[in-house]
Point group: C2
C-alpha cells in the first residue's frame, strides 16, 4: 500500500485538507464527529502526516541529536538508554553520532546539525581543542545544547556531571588506606575537563595523606589497545606501582591484561580501582573495585534538562549544573592481603 497524502485523504472524505490537518492537531477546533471519522479513515488508508512537510512548516523536528565519543562503552550506551527513554515519552526521536574520540568529527557533526535536522543536542565532548566556536554559534541559533559527563569548561550551557573530584579523592584515599604508596593514575586525555578534575582529586588525596608525588606516575594512555598494552607493561615494570587508578573503564581492563601478562597478582602486588559502569564488575577475576557513575540517570537528567530548554526557553538558566553522585564500590581488586603487611 503506497503512502497516501493529506490531499488524497481529504478527497476520499469530501473534506478539505485543513480539516483533515486539524484532526491531527490537539488544539484545533473540529467537531468530535468529523475528527473520529478522519482518524478512522487515516488508519484505514494508512495515512501518516509527512514528517518532513510538517517540520518544514512548523520549523521544528521533534528530534534530538546525541553525540558521544564512542558506542562501545558501557557508560555511553547506558546513558543513551536513559536519553532514549525520556525522548520516547516526549514523542521525540533520537539521532546518534559517534565521534570515535575525534574532535574533527565532532565539529563536523555539529556543523551539519545547523541545518534544522535536530531541535537540540545532548553531547559528551571528545576533544581538548581550544576552539569551540562552532558551539558558541549554537546558542545564537536557538539550538539548545546540554553537556553530560565530558564538558568544555569554556562553553556556558547546562550540564549534567558527577562529583568527579570527590570520587577521585575517595578512590585515591581508598587505595592509600589499603596500603598503597605508589599509585599510578591512568588517563586518556589530561587536558579534557574530566581528566583534569579527576586528576586533581587524586593529587589532593596524595597531598592530604603525605604521599610523595611522582609525576611519572601520571600515565597518558591512548585509544589503541595495542599501544596501551605496551605503555602499561613498560610502566608497571619501570615504576613498580602498588596501586593503579584508572580514569576510564577501558584502562582498568588494560591493566588487568597487562598484570596478567607480567604475572603481577591483583590485589597482592598491585591494587586496581577504576571509573567503570560495567555491570558485571563483581564477576571479574578479581572482582573490580569501581567508581560507578549513575549512567542511565545521567542520560535521563540530561534529556530532561534539554526538554526543559525546549519547552520553556525563557526560564533557562544556562549555568544550570546537575551534579549526581557516583558510588565507590569496594571489591577484591583493592582488598587487603597478607602480603601487603
Amino acid at each position: 500500500m503506497r503512502n497516501i497524502n493529506i490531499k488524497e485523504l481529504a478527497k476520499s472524505l469530501n473534506l478539505s485538507t485543513s480539516t483533515v490537518s486539524r484532526a491531527f492537531r490537539d488544539n484545533s477546533d473540529i467537531s468530535k464527529e468529523t475528527k473520529d471519522k478522519i482518524l478512522a479513515a487515516a488508519k484505514e488508508l494508512n495515512y501518516q502526516p509527512n514528517h518532513y512537510a510538517s517540520n518544514l512548516r512548523e520549523q521544528r523536528s521533534k528530534t534530538i541529536a546525541v553525540i558521544v565519543p564512542e558506542l562501545g562503552n558501557n557508560f555511553f550506551s547506558q546513558a543513551i538508554h536513559g536519553i532514549e527513554r525520556i525522548a520516547r515519552d516526549k514523542g521525540y526521536h533520537i539521532l546518534i553520532y559517534a565521534t570515535d574520540d575525534d574532535h574533527e568529527k565532532e565539529a563536523s557533526f555539529i556543523r551539519h546539525l545547523h541545518n534544522g535536522r535536530a531541535d537540540g543536542i545532548i553531547m559528551s565532548a571528545s576533544g581538548e581543542a581550544n576552539d569551540h566556536n562552532y558551539l558558541n554559534e549554537l546558542n545564537q541559533e536557538r539550538l539548545p545544547l546540554v553537556f553530560f559527563d565530558r564538558v568544555y569548561e569554556d562553553i556556558i550551557t547546562p550540564r549534567v556531571i558527577t562529583n568527579d573530584y570527590d570520587s577521585s579523592f575517595a578512590a585515591t584515599r581508598h587505595l592509600i588506606k589499603q596500603g598503597c604508596r605508589r599509585i599510578a593514575y591512568l588517563v586518556i586525555n589530561k587536558n579534557l575537563s574530566i581528566g583534569k578534575t579527576r586528576m586533581q582529586g587524586y593529587l589532593d588525596a596524595l597531598a592530604k595523606y603525605n604521599i610523595p608525588f611522582d609525576d611519572h606516575l601520571i600515565v597518558d594512555c591512548t585509544n589503541s589497545y595495542q599501544k596501551n598494552s605496551v605503555i602499561l607493561k613498560e610502566m608497571l615494570s619501570r615504576l613498580k606501582p602498588d596501586g593503579v587508578f584508572t580514569s576510564v573503564e577501558r584502562l582498568a581492563f588494560a591493566t588487568y591484561y597487562a598484570c596478567g601478562e607480567m604475572n603481577l597478582a591483583i590485589p597482592e602486588q598491585v591494587k586496581v580501582i577504576g571509573f567503570s559502569s560495567l555491570e558485571i564488575a563483581p564477576l571479574l577475576s578479581p572482582s573490580l573495585t569501581t567508581i560507578t557513575q549513575p549512567a542511565t540517570k545521567i542520560g535521563i537528567e540530561a534529556a530532561s534538562l534539554l526538554f526543559k530548554m525546549l519547552e520553556y526557553p525563557d526560564q533557562v538558566d544556562v549555568n544550570e549544573k546537575v551534579v549526581l553522585d557516583s558510588k565507590l564500590i569496594k571489591r577484591n581488586s583493592t582488598a587487603l592481603t597478607a602480603k601487603t603487611y
Copy 2:
C-alpha cells in the same frame, strides 16, 4: 548568528536561488567560478541547506532507522557501531530505536516510520508475534528493510545472520566432550527464530552423542534480573545440571551469580558456555567460554545490504542472506577438572 536561507544567500550574491542551489548539487551545470564564490559565501554566512526542505523536495531523507531490542547489550552496541560507520561514510544519519524487547513498541516504531522519516530500516526483531503485517506493508512502500541476527522467518527480506545452528551444535558438543551429561539450555524466548535455531543445534548434538534429553532442562527465562535469579537457583538445585548453555549473554552472567550464591563451583560442578560479545570474557572468574558473534561485522554487512537496496533497487534479491561465522572460544568455564574424572 541566525541561520540563513537560500534566498538571503542568493540575494547577498546577486544571484538566483536556483544558481545557489546548483552550487550544492554535484551534477548540475554551473561554472566553477560562481560555484566557488557561492560556497565561500555560504561558509562565511554559515549557510546550510535546510534538511527538511530538501527532503520534502527530493522525497528522501538520507537517514536510516535502526531498531534493536535493547541498548545495554554488547552485541547490539557493537552492531550499531558497525552500522554507524557505514552510514557515516555514505553521508547518512541514523535514528536509533530501542524496543525493550516489547513487540508492541516495535510495531509502533515501524508504523511511525511510514511517514518518510527514514529511507530504510535495519532491525533485529523483538517479538514472536505472528502478525507481522506492519512489516509487509513496508515493501510495498519501498521502505527497504534488512534484518540482522533476530529475524522473522515469515518476512521475506534480506538478512544478516550467523551460523547459529552450527555454533549451538558445537557448543553443546564441547560441553559433552568436557564430560557434561545433564546440560541445561537457557533461553529468553523459545519461539523467536533465534531461540528455535539455537535450540535445535543443542537438541541435535544431544541426540548425536546419545545423551538422553530431559525437556525440563530447557529453561525459559525472562528479561528481569530478579526473576531469572529465582528461576535459575530453583533450576540448579532441582535439576542439578552439570553444564549450562545460555543462548543470550545476560543469562550467562545470571548463571554465574546464581552459582555463586549457591556455592556451586564453575567449572568443577557446573560448566558454562554462552553466546556473548563481551570483550573482557577472559577477565571473568572463571574466564567464560563463549560463542562470539562478529557483531561489528554484522552491523557493517547489514548496512551495506541496505545501501545496496537503496542504490540499486532493481538488483535486489529479497532472499539474500548473509551468513557469518561465530567463533567458539574455549576458556576456563568449561575446563576439565580433576573432580570431573
